[in-house]
Symmetry: C3
Subunit: 351 residues, 3 copies
């Protein structure tokens, strides 16, 4: 693809010759015929080493990035521009309409002729599969499931009965949508299972990673709002709601009935207790245990900083005696306060 074709499709300003680029590459490793980008000034040092035919940069980096034999594209957000180039050079696969001979589609299901139903896929009774959907091999869609247009379920996905999936959704392999929530009531000497009669509703433009689990609601529905992005191995329990355009990184777990607002970001391995609400625009660092509602959007964190095991052991032992230590400091303060100071006490700025 020629650089002028990219500019025609995506905007931006071309500095230098109109070169041909075939693929993308990281700045440091890029060679001829490759296009790359510089977004973070920290990687500026790689500009010399890069043999890329074109580098996408912000205007203020134009002078620094210019080299003989290299063109530049000036863009306000080089990272986003680069993502758009990547999408241009790597168009998503197109559905090849039709049902594979080995697939089992219930006769009452309604599958668009333009939808691709792969090998060994199973589609249940009264299920609806929209235009240009791709259901890759081994995926199982339960009874009464509805799937909007242009949605892809990768191989070996499972969608339980009655769930609703919007348009332009992507769900990666191994992910399970709509399994029973973990609802139990103690009955004298055993657990009584509470039937989970809600559904999972996934709105348009959601993407969900691999081996993630989103449970159906107990009474009401579990809801994933428009544009939310969820990574691998994430657990979303029954009756949760994930807000629009919220991004959730891998290994995160969210307990039942918790509502996460819109445009939040959750780092990896965040754990949220149930029945809380997180304000729109909240950002939570990786490994944080969220134990109560967050009303004010901000950056939140918890997590014990790593050290060598030897240092850790020396410090961690005191964690179990923090209350006593705080009490001892208080006693010292009281005792000193009771003594006539021999000179004007120096108050540390920390006090």
């Amino acid at each position: 693809m020629k650089l002028t074709e990219i500019i025609a499709a995506l905007g931006g300003e071309l500095i230098g010759d109109d070169r041909e680029v075939a693929c993308l590459a990281p700045l440091a490793g890029a060679g001829e015929g490759e296009i790359t980008f510089l977004a973070n000034p920290k990687y500026r040092k790689d500009l010399d080493a890069s043999g890329a035919s074109c580098v996408i940069v912000r205007e203020d980096m134009q002078a620094a990035a210019a080299r003989d034999g290299r063109s530049l594209i000036i863009a306000a957000n080089p990272y986003l521009y680069f993502a758009r180039v990547a999408a241009l050079l790597n168009p998503a696969p197109v559905a090849i309409g039709g049902v594979h001979a080995s697939a089992v589609v219930d006769e009452t299901a309604c599958v668009a002729a333009s939808a691709e139903i792969g090998a060994n896929v199973v589609v249940g009774a009264r299920a609806v599969v929209g235009e240009r959907c791709r259901l890759l091999p081994g995926t199982v869609v339960g009874d009464d499931v509805t799937i909007g247009d242009d949605t892809t379920l990768y191989a070996n996905v499972t969608v339980y009965h009655g769930c609703v999936i919007g348009a332009r959704v992507g769900i990666h392999s191994g992910t399970v949508i709509g399994a029973d929530g973990f609802g139990l009531a103690w009955d004298k000497d055993h657990w009584f299972k509470i039937p989970q009669t809600g559904r999972v509703l996934i709105e348009d433009d959601v993407e969900i990673g691999a081996n993630t689990t989103i449970d159906r609601g107990a009474l009401a529905d579990t809801v994933i709002r428009r544009g939310a992005k969820i990574d691998n191995l994430v657990q979303i329990a029954h009756n949760c709601e994930i807000g629009e355009h919220t991004a959730i990184a891998g290994c995160t777990g969210i307990a039942g009935s918790t509502r996460v607002g819109a445009r939040c970001t959750l780092g990896g391995a965040v754990m949220m207790v149930g029945h809380i609400e997180i304000a729109d625009g909240t950002h939570i660092g990786g490994g944080t245990l969220v134990s109560k509602s967050i009303k004010k959007p901000d950056n939140y964190a918890s997590s014990y900083p790593m050290s060598t095991a030897k240092e850790w052991m020396a410090n961690a032992v005191h964690l179990r005696h923090l209350d006593a230590l705080a009490g001892r400091v208080k006693s010292l303060e009281k005792r000193l306060a009771a003594e006539p100071a021999s000179s004007t006490p120096q108050q540390g700025k920390e006090q």
Copy 2:
């Protein structure tokens, strides 16, 4: 279903008219023809807003819950009663006996005629599948597996060879029973894999969530005792034993050879080291790292409380110097002890 029919089936006392209810709903959102419950007094404020035809309450809430046009059911445990009503109104699907044409059942397998073997299910050699079992599409049952009566394996479950599953067990999609435990011996310059020759034994009335993994034993078996309930994305390593009626919430990991007692509850994202024992009746809070045996049943916890990233950074930095801080406090105490006090020292109650 009429309220008198519910009472006839489940007991309890009807206050008010015999109304018709079709489904269940949360207290606040319930409308006509719906039945709901009040278990936690904290939701008492929702009683006014609720348009439910019937509310299940404890006797002491009868007066507070009464409204015109609403009946009450008095029950000792409204939450459990509600669960039972849910089960009454939503009976579990019944197996439709027979093997789907696309399923592959080994000729030496013994499958009950009343069992439902779904599309693309695979059942291995000498496997035994009990009466009224449901094996949903895509599930793979290995050689020599035994499955008791009335057990459901949802879609895309995998059970490795030789495992034994009891009666009335439920295993949700994506869950893997009996993969090899993580057993390795270091051999000069590489890992030597230790064959995992044990099995997984799952007793009656166990329920297991989606995408959970329970590894086979190395020599002896991994055992899940009667009535245990395990949520999604839980890892149970080789040779563990989970006690009767113990409930384990999502994202929990239990390392090898650990024995969890009966009637324990583990919150989400609990991590247990291997080769320890947890006493019957122990309760462990979400996010707790359990690093040693627990002999006395109690509530246990660990986990750094969340704060804003700014506050967190200010505090967390001191965690790495706690040992030094404790030493400084001790030095101050010694120095003060060496000085003649100018007045009777005030001992804080914390000391």
Copy 3:
């Protein structure tokens, strides 16, 4: 198998009669016809109770382990020797060459005649499957995937298009290789998905547990080096590299572009941030949050020690005021330093 046959195959010295052993057992529970081992002196007390026909021990334990009616094998590393005996007594299943009638193999795929393609397996276009591979039921191999000789993909594994898997690799059920990495660029009011055009490369002799996810690279590849061992429910994000012979225990998550060195061990539930490097030979304890690069191989840890919920609450509350507490201690020190000491101050060794 006779003990002399084991010695002939594996070396070591036989003390006592040449007995017949059929299987392995833990020391305490072993009976006649069973072989066991003593590696950890802590289990020495079980020597009396054991009825094993043969115990594998180090030379220095020979006298302690000798009993009437019991033979010994003297080995430098009894645990490794035991692992080798286990492999001898339990040879891995051999591929039964051929494609099951229900499998769907693309006509352009190249599958070795000696490879076993199980029921309902799907193999994509131009995929290559090596000699004596075993692809168990329900596994899906995408287009252009290459799999080396003697590799086993257990049931319901998913490998995305273009990934490369070496020889003698084992991948357990439910694991997903090559799903899209979590790459997003914020575009005014929504996330723009960055196409993930790299692959996953898995070198020879790697073993991967169940329900693990390894994402394809964004531009470059995600790489798992020779001999690495990865447990269940592990998340390895795009562009990571895991070094040779590194072992990663269950529930661990590694964020994007992180490089873990060779011969490292990661305990369970370790969480690593992205874009860091971990030195060869580093050992990281279970539950540790690794938030920066590790340049010096050592043992590393973090994690708040468990206590009863009551104790925990009393101590944890101070974590949020550690900065203030440290400041108060500093103030006390300054005040005392300003006073003329009434006697020679006693400096604690902690200071």
